[in-house]
C-alpha cells in the first residue's frame, strides 16, 4: 500500500513539476531574489554545511541575506534546505545589512520639523 503511494508520488512529481514550471517562468519578474533566513544552526553538522552557509554570507541564526536567482545559489540553498527559510522577492525588496538594522529600530517617538532659528517652526515649539 505504502509502496504503491510512493510509486504514484514519484510518477506524478515530474509531471506536476514540468507543468507548473511553465506556469511560473513568466512570473519570475515579480521575484528575482532569494530571501534566505537561517532558522537552524549548522553547529555539529559538518564542515560542508557550515561552509555552504559561509559562502551564502550567513554567519548567525535568524540572519537574512538576499541572493539573485541563479543555479549556484539554488544549489547552495538546497544543500542546507533543512536549516533555512526561503522566499522569492522582487529586487525592490532587497535590503542591505544596514537597511535591515534601520528597519528593526523602533521609532524615536518624535519628528524634528526644523531648526530653532527658522521662524515657521517656533509655533510648534510653543506647545
Amino acid at each position: 500500500m505504502a509502496g504503491s503511494s510512493r510509486l504514484l508520488a514519484s510518477a506524478i512529481r515530474p509531471l506536476s513539476t514540468s507543468t507548473s514550471t511553465h506556469a511560473v517562468q513568466p512570473n519570475t519578474s515579480t521575484g528575482q531574489y532569494y530571501k534566505i533566513t537561517l532558522l537552524r544552526s549548522a553547529i555539529a553538522l559538518g564542515s560542508k554545511k557550515k561552509g555552504t552557509l559561509v559562502s551564502l554570507g550567513i554567519h548567525r541564526r535568524m540572519q537574512t541575506v538576499y541572493h539573485p536567482h541563479a543555479p549556484e545559489f539554488a544549489g547552495k540553498i538546497l544543500a542546507v534546505k533543512e536549516l533555512v527559510k526561503v522566499e522569492n522577492v522582487p529586487k525592490e525588496a532587497v535590503r542591505t545589512k544596514t537597511e535591515q538594522r534601520q528597519a528593526r529600530k523602533p521609532s524615536r517617538g518624535f519628528v524634528i520639523l526644523g531648526g530653532l532659528t527658522r521662524s515657521e517652526t517656533t509655533g510648534v515649539h510653543a506647545f
Binding site: 513539476t17 507548473s20 555539529a44 534546505k81 526561503v86
Partner: protein
Amino acid sequence: MFGPFRASHVSLSGLLWKTPWKLSVTRKANQRKRLKRVDGVIEAVRASGVECAALTKALELPKEHEMPARDKYTVFTPHARGYRKGVHKVPKFTRVAFFFFLASWRRTQCRFGWSPLPL
C-alpha cells in the same frame, strides 16, 4: 523502596538516558512541521524558475503529504526486528536530510537483496 535514596536505574548507574521507543504525538507533529518547512524551501526554489541538478534531485523527494507515516517517523535499520527504528534515534534528526535516510535505506535494501517497496 521509597524516599530520596531509593534504588532506581537512575540512582544506581551513572548516566542513564531513556529514549522512548516511539515518538509522541507532539514530536510527530513537530516532525511534520519540519518536513513541511523543507517542502516549502524546495517549492520556493522551484518557483524561482532556476534549473539545476540539485533541484532535480530535490524534486524527486516525496512531499510531506505524500509520505506514509512509516517514512515520516521511522528509518531503516538492519539491527531491529522489522528493519525499522524511530527517526528520533538518528543523530541530529531535526536538522539532517531525510534524503540520506531514504538513500541509505535503499542501498541497504539492495545489499540485503530484499525489497518490499519498489525502488
